[in-house]
């Protein structure tokens, strides 16, 4: 953690965690030339790099096997380069996550001292403590900002700050929790790396092109990154609305009070699932206390046609919950973090179901949110 901490990292550690600062220093010093195609180290490195990406595509996790430390270490930046050359946003996310999962598995069996060294390398303010509480041993305390940056992306209620032991800006965490939070840090670090490599396309060594092609093939075999997007879902399906949006719709419909945040969320939601501004204004005309001028202004603002020109995205499930707009989750809610994801999945499910047999429909009818007044 402190002065002599670098001594705490071996070459094997760098091979296990090739995204560390120290690891990239090692790679630069090694000076691998990507055009030197006859180099045996390069060909092994390229193979392992390809394997990393293919593992990510097929299994969602890079295998943590470790044969040659140099190859393992060098193959990471090469894999990052390959992924950015493919240039698919979905792949970038999936690859970052797959590397993070590999790392998490390795981290889970590290000693507390080693975990602290690794976390410090990644920029965390982490301290070793020893606090037993309710049968659990907390071995670390983390600074609030390091905790929040990583834990706020996790869904389980145990990660919510309100359910943690917090004192003077330090959050107590166990060893396994550190491993989990580090893997979040790692996946965002790798996403950042991938975003930075975005502009390198001009100087691709030709030897890499066949590898890029292999990755593209593997993706298309699995139809990856071609999932239906919102706009392809087509018409607006009221049946596919998540419970929170249905509740807001019903409240508006019954002329009950809907707080500003609720109207905002609903409007942004409707615009995102493909309703036009006029349709949204029309919907509000039918259901709510209505001033056309104000409504139109607000809807246009949310659509990004006015004011700051930002097109607003509806709030995530987390935000909906903290605004008190979440009405309780159904089964599908458990699997998503965003009302839009819910809608997309549900719409897809409904469409699939409709194709073969026309099954009994929900009482709302299938034509979309604006049909009844």
């Amino acid at each position: 953690m402190r002065g002599g901490s670098w001594a705490g990292l071996t070459k094997r550690d760098l091979a296990k965690y090739p995204f560390l600062k120290k690891a990239s220093e090692y790679v630069s010093a090694f000076g691998l030339d990507l055009r030197d195609l006859v180099s045996p180290t390069l060909s092994k490195t390229l193979e392992r790099a390809l394997q990393r990406v293919l593992d990510a595509i097929r299994f969602g996790k890079v295998s943590p096997r470790l044969t040659d430390e140099d190859v393992e270490l060098l193959s990471f930046p090469v894999a990052v380069l390959l992924v950015s050359l493919v240039g698919n946003e979905y792949l970038k996310k999936r690859y970052a996550l797959a590397e993070a999962k590999r790392a998490e598995e390795l981290l889970a069996s590290e000693s507390p001292d080693k975990l602290a060294v690794l976390a410090t390398d990644l920029g965390w303010d982490i301290r070793s403590v020893e606090v037993p509480f309710g049968g659990i041993l907390y071995e670390f305390s983390l600074s609030l900002k390091d905790y929040l940056r990583n834990a706020s992306r996790l869904k389980d209620k145990k990660w919510k700050l309100v359910n943690r032991l917090v004192k003077s800006g330090r959050v107590l965490v166990t060893r396994l929790e550190v491993a989990r939070l580090l893997s979040e840090e790692i996946s965002s670090k790798i996403e950042e790396l991938l975003a930075k490599r975005g502009g390198l396309k001009d100087s691709i060594p030709e030897g890499l092109l066949p590898y890029v092609e292999r990755i593209r093939e593997a993706m298309s075999e699995l139809k990856m990154g071609e999932g239906p997007r919102l706009e392809e879902v087509g018409e607006v399906l009221f049946e596919a609305f998540p419970p929170c949006m249905k509740a807001i719709y019903n409240a508006l419909h019954e002329k009950r009070h809907v707080p500003h945040a609720g109207r905002f969320a609903f409007t942004a939601f409707l615009l995102h699932i493909g309703m036009g501004i006029d349709d949204v204004v029309e919907l509000f005309r039918q259901v709510a206390d209505f001033s056309e001028k104000i409504t139109r202004y607000q809807v246009e603002h949310i659509a990004g046609e006015r004011g700051g020109r930002t097109q607003y995205t509806p709030p995530s499930c987390k935000t909906m919950r903290s605004y008190g707009l979440c009405v309780g989750a159904d089964e599908l809610c458990q699997k998503v973090r965003h009302p839009l994801t819910y809608y997309m999945r549900k719409a897809r499910m409904l469409k699939r179901r409709k194709r073969p047999v026309k099954t009994a429909e929900g009482e709302e009818g299938g034509q979309g949110g604006g049909e009844d007044g």
């Binding site: 929040l148 919510k160 309100v162 917090v166 004011g307 935000t319």
Partner: protein, 408 residues
């Protein structure tokens, strides 16, 4: 508001800014400024100022009804396109609005009246007039010491939790009276400046005990709980202790506990209090199980929660009223309050801007009565519709800003 009144207020505010100016915002060059005006309620946004003098001169010329600056720091604050502004971080801000805290006085001094049939009532306005169904309602929200005290209590809790639990340095916090019905707290900390929406949301949820799960905190039957434990465990312990200490059948029934559990709790009150005092496993008598304990703890969480507006804190692009500026709805100043003086702070004597002069105003007839007002230890009103009165300037401005009086 009549144009004559608007013009009067515009020039009054302009003169005030010419001699006083607002408190200089920190890092003025990276802030976006926004203003509103009296009368036509124009909104001026995306303004940047290179220096304090430039800002002051602008306000002295415009006489804005309300003046705001961004909690965010921007590379190019005067860019109209939010994306092009270059967000560099934002102060962490909290808004405590007496409006959101239920107090008994609202039923006494908040009034609404139907513009078409004249029917009226007190408290919060309904969506439509219960007599004629019209949605054209005039609404008046008033402030008094009770509302302010309730909001102050939340502010004190907020400062305490931020300091004790979240480790925010007191020297990084600035508390202020908003000029209307509430308080703001701004945190200027390099450490927290880069938090995103979700991270700020976690802080709000922490304060407001949203998503608190006693079991996730290790609090089931048989769990130990001590008064000086960190975080929400300690807060729950204190709240549980005091809830139980003053509990009677009525309060426990209101929490939805069953009869058997209530009598068991009351019978072994001392044993339970004793177990918490000594940090031993919570003593739970027969008849009080997991679900009763959970109900009790959630009621404690609700009681100890800090009532901040979640929307304001989550927003990383929020506009905040400037300290030392006048509020357009009251004519009171937004003033900063030293943290250790919050308790005794009295906005009705410390947020006054206009000391001399008098003005003659005519009370409008949109409402059946305008409630009394207490400023600098003097009482004014209540006022009758149509009445013309001569008042000290601060009181007259208050009534005109509230749109219940016009310049006579």
């Amino acid at each position: 508001m009549e144009e004559k009144t608007a013009k009067f207020l515009r020039s009054l505010y302009a003169r005030y800014y010419a001699s006083h100016g607002p408190v200089e915002p920190e890092d003025i060059g990276h802030r976006e400024f926004a203003f509103m005006t009296f009368g036509e309620r124009m909104v001026i946004r995306h303004r940047g100022f290179g220096s304090y003098d430039e800002l002051k001169a602008f306000m002295a010329k415009l006489g804005p009804s309300d003046a705001f600056y961004s909690s965010a720091y921007f590379q190019r604050p005067d860019e109209p396109d939010m994306k092009a502004k270059g967000w560099m971080g934002a102060d962490l801000i909290f808004d405590i609005d007496a409006d959101h805290i239920p107090t008994s006085c609202k039923g006494e001094h908040d009034i609404w009246a139907c513009r078409s049939c004249g029917h009226w009532g007190t408290g919060e306005a309904p969506d439509a007039c219960p007599r004629c169904g019209s949605k054209e309602l005039a609404e008046l929200k008033w402030i008094c010491n009770k509302c302010i005290s309730a909001a102050k209590e939340e502010l004190i809790k907020l400062i305490e939790v931020l300091e004790e639990d979240l480790g925010v340095d007191r020297s990084d916090m600035v508390a202020s009276f908003s000029g209307h019905r509430g308080f703001h707290l701004r945190v200027f900390s390099e450490d927290l400046r880069n938090l995103g929406q979700d991270e700020r949301g976690e802080i709000v949820d922490y304060l407001a005990a949203v998503g608190l799960d006693p079991e996730a905190l290790g609090l089931g039957p048989g769990a130990k709980l001590g008064l000086d434990e960190p975080g929400w465990r300690g807060r729950l312990a204190k709240a549980f202790y005091s809830l139980l200490y003053r509990a009677d059948e009525g309060t426990l029934r209101a929490l939805g506990l069953r009869k058997k559990a209530i009598s068991a709790l009351l019978a072994s009150k001392d044993l339970i209090l004793d177990s918490i005092e000594h940090g031993r496993p919570i003593y739970l008598p027969r008849g009080v199980g997991k679900s009763s304990l959970k109900k009790l703890l959630l009621a404690c969480a609700e009681e100890a929660a800090v009532k901040v507006d979640p929307v304001v804190t989550r927003d990383t692009h929020r506009l905040v009223r400037m300290s030392g500026s006048l509020h357009g709805k009251t004519g009171l100043l937004k003033v900063d309050i030293p943290l250790d003086e919050v308790e005794e702070f009295d906005p009705f004597s410390s947020a006054l801007a206009f000391e001399r002069d008098w003005a003659k105003v005519r009370i409008t007839d949109s409402l059946p009565v305008v409630p009394a007002l207490r400023l600098a230890d003097e009482d004014y009103g209540p006022f009758e519709p149509g009445e013309t009165v001569e008042l000290p300037l601060q009181a007259a401005v208050f009534l005109m800003c509230k749109e219940v009086a016009e310049l006579a």
